[in-house]
Symmetry: C2
Subunit: 194 residues, 2 copies
């Protein structure tokens, strides 16, 4: 496994030159996260800025009744960390767990800040990660308001089919804002249609 994908990520934003991308990449360390292992546990301060190279992860919180609520999925190519906990240095409300064997590259909070300090271009990358995350959340928010559960399901299936091979329906259902029972019925209905 090489760091090539990571270097390409930094370059792909057009915010960072090749030589800078290589400098940044140098500071990241390899990490293997076996299936079901937690990358982050609620109550801890998120301290790793992780690039997920391979595999799928899910982020989840607990509602007031103690039920798991999937707050997000991460798949290869994405930065995987809990924004609020990582930057504010506060205890995470969320868990991040590997859905299958995962591989990636990470740096710590301290190292990230060092890089931000020494490589101004990298700050731009960091900002773009935040802005992308923000935009993604807003899109999902809008889909919760304007789309039916069935439409949200189809959208997720179209954009992230791999998740369905690794996460149980219950997990996907709570991400979509419905129960697993409803999701099962939606699938039945869609199977009838197609």
């Amino acid at each position: 496994m090489t760091k090539e994908t990571l270097t390409r990520l930094f370059q792909s934003t057009n915010l960072v030159s090749l030589s800078t991308a290589i400098q940044i990449t140098d500071r990241f360390e390899y990490k293997f996260i076996p299936k079901n292992q937690f990358q982050l546990t609620a109550g801890k301060i998120c301290n790793e800025y992780l690039f997920l190279e391979k595999g799928y992860m899910r982020a989840f919180a607990h509602d007031t009744e103690g039920n798991e609520v999937t707050t997000g999925f991460c798949s290869s190519g994405q930065m995987t960390f809990e924004v609020s906990s990582f930057f504010n240095r506060t205890r995470s409300m969320e868990n991040i767990q590997a859905l299958n064997d995962c591989e990636g590259w990470y740096i710590t909070y301290q190292q990230l800040n060092n890089l931000f300090h020494t490589l101004p271009e990298f700050r731009e990358f960091g900002r773009s990660v935040l802005v992308e995350g923000y935009a993604g959340l807003k899109t999902r928010m809008l889909s919760m308001i304007t789309e039916t559960a069935e439409e949200r399901y189809e959208q997720l299936f179209k954009t992230s089919p791999g998740i369905f091979q690794h996460a149980p329906l219950k997990t996907i259902a709570s991400y979509l804002g419905i129960t697993d029972t409803s999701l099962s019925r939606i699938r039945k209905e869609l199977a009838r249609k197609h």
Copy 2:
């Protein structure tokens, strides 16, 4: 009207010293936005980083059927701009409109970047604005999944009672992810309870 509130905002984060806060504040210019006027129109690139000192604004988009969907409210003390359009320099999908006469202080994208460049502490402030926005969206997302419309209504009423004096129910309903009819019934039910 003085810039005092603005200076205090920069200081309050503890990321910026008083002298820096004053330097930053100096670059902001006063703006009056009369009721119903648009601070940002869909299709335009958001170019103003606005601190809302007084008044209420709403951000809204249009769904595929052309209905207005309230994506957010802004009240005094908050930075008011469309994150994605502003930082990515892309056309905004959203409108931002004054719900009543508003006053605030703004700088342009170019000026913001100049400040980010000359005052590293201000970058920290900029990042914290993004992180706060991200966390706020995630909280709202979670409430869409785990709470009933009635609970979301009560929560909004508790945290932002002022909005109810300035936005019509239809606007608030779409923010909560329900129709104005349902919101009206929820209000009736709550009135019965209390």
